[in-house]
Symmetry: D2
Subunit: 338 residues, 4 copies
């Protein structure tokens, strides 16, 4: 029998990608689309590309009814909204993979500082598992609540953790210069995301204040035991999907070679099907629509420069969520994702 799957917030970009990935998944079946809207659309009206592929009618958010039809639910609603629903979804017996930010930061005080709002579900927060399989794969299979990582945070943590864990780079002065396609900002129109404003444009935003910055630091501390200091500087790219991070680190000593850095990646990710260690420079085009995170590194002018590329909608969101689902249901991690 296939794993019956629900989605909360089906009219978001991450939900669209989940629906498309689930269609090709041999062991899962989408059964329930739970929407906050007053007028509940057929999902193929909302996303015309789904005509003939997925024509489910959206339904009300009724946790027991959802639990009747699904074992797991992907919550694709904004932060604050997610933690309104998650307790009831868990209570109804569903396992939850939350694509919002609400269960990513383990410390409620940090959450409140970063998201400017008290955490209202600290009970479940305490049990949430951070769903970055390459670093915390052991914890995911038994989890009932998985916090799906941020897109930027996924790339940065995967790029930095192996080097930090092996003491090849210093934990201080790390710079993550990141650039993302516009789907990362969601589906809601806004003046700065209006086509003519973004097209032929490029700028930084939230310099050193982006919410993924503490998330990266938390992940690196958990994965490596080191308190890394990250300066995270995101930029918006005039394209749809993809993140490229150019990460600058200080080698721990002059004895460290570029080969040592590559070896660390090869060692850390030898068994990881979604990490590709490349000799050439990662390009976000080459991970488009895939669950890969491509990594490469250069040692030049005294700096280690790591390049990490992923698709913010796939490995940065919906693909990784499905990878987590695979692990939670004791499937191959790659099922439906290669």
């Amino acid at each position: 029998m296939k794993i019956p799957v629900a989605i909360l917030g089906p009219t978001s970009y991450t939900a669209l990608h989940l629906i498309q990935l689930l269609r090709r998944h041999p062991a899962a079946e989408l059964t329930y689309l739970a929407s906050q809207r007053d007028e509940l659309p057929n999902i193929a009206e909302e996303f015309p590309q789904l005509m003939g592929l997925c024509e489910l009618q959206c339904q009300k958010i009724d946790p027991p009814a959802i639990a009747d039809q699904a074992e797991v639910i992907f919550t694709c609603v904004p932060h604050l909204t997610a933690m309104e629903y998650v307790p009831r979804l868990l209570e109804a017996g569903l396992r939850v993979i939350d694509l919002s930010a609400d269960y990513r930061l383990a410390d409620p005080a940090l959450y409140e500082k970063v998201y400017q709002h008290p955490h209202t579900d600290t009970e479940n927060l305490a049990d949430a598992v951070y769903g970055l399989p390459e670093l915390f794969g052991d914890e995911i299979p038994e989890a009932d609540l998985v916090a799906n990582p941020g897109c930027y945070a996924t790339a940065a943590a995967l790029a930095i953790a192996p080097l930090l864990a092996r003491n090849l780079v210093k934990p201080t002065g790390i710079i993550v210069n990141a650039a993302s396609g516009i789907t990362g900002a969601g589906r809601r129109p806004a003046p700065h995301l209006h086509f003519p404003e973004m097209n032929e444009a490029f700028t930084a935003y939230n310099v050193g204040t982006h919410r993924h910055q503490p998330e990266i630091e938390q992940t690196l501390a958990a994965a490596t035991g080191q308190e890394a200091q990250i300066l995270f500087v995101p930029h918006l790219l005039p394209l749809n999907q993809g993140i490229l991070e150019s990460i600058y680190l200080d080698p721990a000593s002059e004895a460290i070679s570029e080969e040592d850095l590559f070896d660390a990646f090869e060692d850390a990710y030898a068994d990881e099907p979604f990490i590709r260690i490349r000799n050439d420079l990662p390009n976000l085009k080459h991970v488009r629509d895939s669950n890969f995170c491509d990594l490469s590194v250069r040692l030049v002018k005294g700096k280690a420069v790591v390049f990490a590329a992923l698709d913010n909608m796939i490995k940065g969101a919906s693909g990784q969520a499905l990878q987590n689902m695979n692990l939670m249901f004791k499937q191959e991690a790659t099922l439906g994702l290669l």
Copy 2:
């Protein structure tokens, strides 16, 4: 002394282009930016590219105060809003170049049908001059109220009128297949204009129902005396500025040659500085940021196919408005525009 100029609705894309064009105009000076906003911005805060170039403070819409500082005003507000203000602006003694649609259709009944709202200023409508200089240049110098033509309508009228006037094509069955950059839809964000929706996309809209369709028919009737039947099919292009129209017409007889069609254009526009008759195929890239309308024609498989390209923000809006201002103030048409 320079012509003192005001703009109503200074935070629109058309206003931005007017401001940029006026900076280079040797005989005009921008003196007043009249805004409907509650909080009146400095225009360089609204449009960061204007820093150091134009840092005027927006002011309230006070017609007498505007008339103290300006002789002419460009109204860059949406239709319906324009005709709220235009009577008072005229009354205050200002000459008005209206970039909205409110004074383009001479017949109030047609206006009501097309814009789904009764015309509320039929008195001034009766005196308004349609500001397409290449076709109605004689009427513009004395006008106090000029209706600046629609972007699509400008290209279509310039492309069709010479052929129709010389009876080289039939007035029936004319197809205008048009494609426009996204600035043509204005600056207000909307779901379908959100960057990820428009990027890598192309579709038609308002097939045979676009409001410029009757405007084109009216213009051709006024310019040629013939009742042309236009099927107008616009598309949205994933780029910022520019319109290309591919126009299909039936030659009036089999005796007509491609050379006859070129001759008609050369004849009609011999003295027009902003019309370029090309042998190669017009590309909207080649008219970008210019006040040109590029035209070419092919006679193939029994059809005359005219291609017209212009920049929807310049010849399709702000450049043409300035061309009209030049004529109204007895300046060279090209002043500040080449």
Copy 3:
């Protein structure tokens, strides 16, 4: 056992898409990449996105060796080159699906006129089947040589044939206004395809002289028995993949309604899994990366306007080729394609 599959010309865009589609195909396996190059690359070096997905080494073009490892070969080389190799591939016992133009036009004289070169394999040309499954599906299963249709021609034929076959539109005066993404022009760099030349650009080309024009006419004659006259006007869009055609036809009589036109499509394509009849207007974005052809129609101002959208790389090339392979090997048409 899976169908063993070879590709000739593996470094083209159509080959890349074939490789990606074949990876997901449950009943086919890629075994041989035959390349003309002197230095034979690993395909994952040529296309970095294939790392970890398909790392086949390209090999020499040796028809018997290919036939040892494959039953069918997709030829992804340019016209003229294709007909150099096809005879030997057939002779070696391979079935051939040719993505070039060499076997599309049944009449060698027409081929010579259109492609400015005599046809050098008229023997096999006589046996070639035109691989448009929705119109000629019966002939494909037994074919040894399938001519995969042109991208533009696929959309136009699918859009026009049902209306023409039912005498709902006149065969004369048909206008196909088409726009394609740049992958349609192939992978070889050229001045007019250089990024800065195409970006923020839009223009027509080959007006009434494009090679797909006679192909469309041939297809319509074969499918409907009528000699349709097509004026085909292609444009290049600043995006990667996708074709939208806006097709103008004269209804056969005034009695014909828009509903009649929709009914014709529903009737013609009721059992066709890759044709979607839409009420909303097709957008090439909504068929991206799919094998669908989306169709809709409007009856307005006396014209029937059909809109057809497909992905030029999938339904316009590699997806359709795979659909043909499915039919040739008695598989479900949709296998690996939904």
Copy 4:
């Protein structure tokens, strides 16, 4: 009398921008286009946008003939080619503004190392002035040979020099993370610049090995007396024009505030018409088609992060060249450039 001006290499993108800027320049006149081509085009055939604006015929490269008609020549040919012609142009009596890299690096040994070719005109190299007016404005008026700076190097030097000169940042460990539009790679088609390869793509290139890296270091040494160590990491953006550099520096001490950094810029550039110190974050869109370099700075997590934006074709090439011409001919620096 206007300054008579020639261009060598008129079919390049930088020449196109020079021609367009010169058209609006009140004190200069383009008289001679010297081309290496065998078939000498009319420049309006080469660049269709110039029709009706500049229709000069290209001519042979004949230094004495050029000197008869011009006082100054802009050399818009690639490096290596430039130093073939410059000696003869100078000898003929022309003043030269070279947009290639040939006269930028003062040390011939460094040139040979960076450009992999011995310098063949060391005599004139010794007299060349580096044409970055904001840093070396005093030397330009009397120069006969001005080396117009590299686009990336202009932004980096303008961003770093004021802070380094005032000892607000350390000269070590400086990271310049840069991103440029595709025109920066020139007009010659190449596989990686083919539209479908660059569109929806983003990647780094020449990490720590780009030729502008030593140029930046040379400029900073000359302007500040300090040996700065620069790690320069360029990326290619899917857009036409514009550079954004995100520059990471270590403050010289903990006492330094963000205000100190802004003060340094205000102090350095108080009288510079083309430098805009912004509070908001520079966006390459906001300097498009202008000769501005926009600067801003953030002090965050212990790093000074400077953002510099300019148009690689204007302040990064042709606009700066014209600014240099203005200074060489004792004109206002801003003439024709605002």
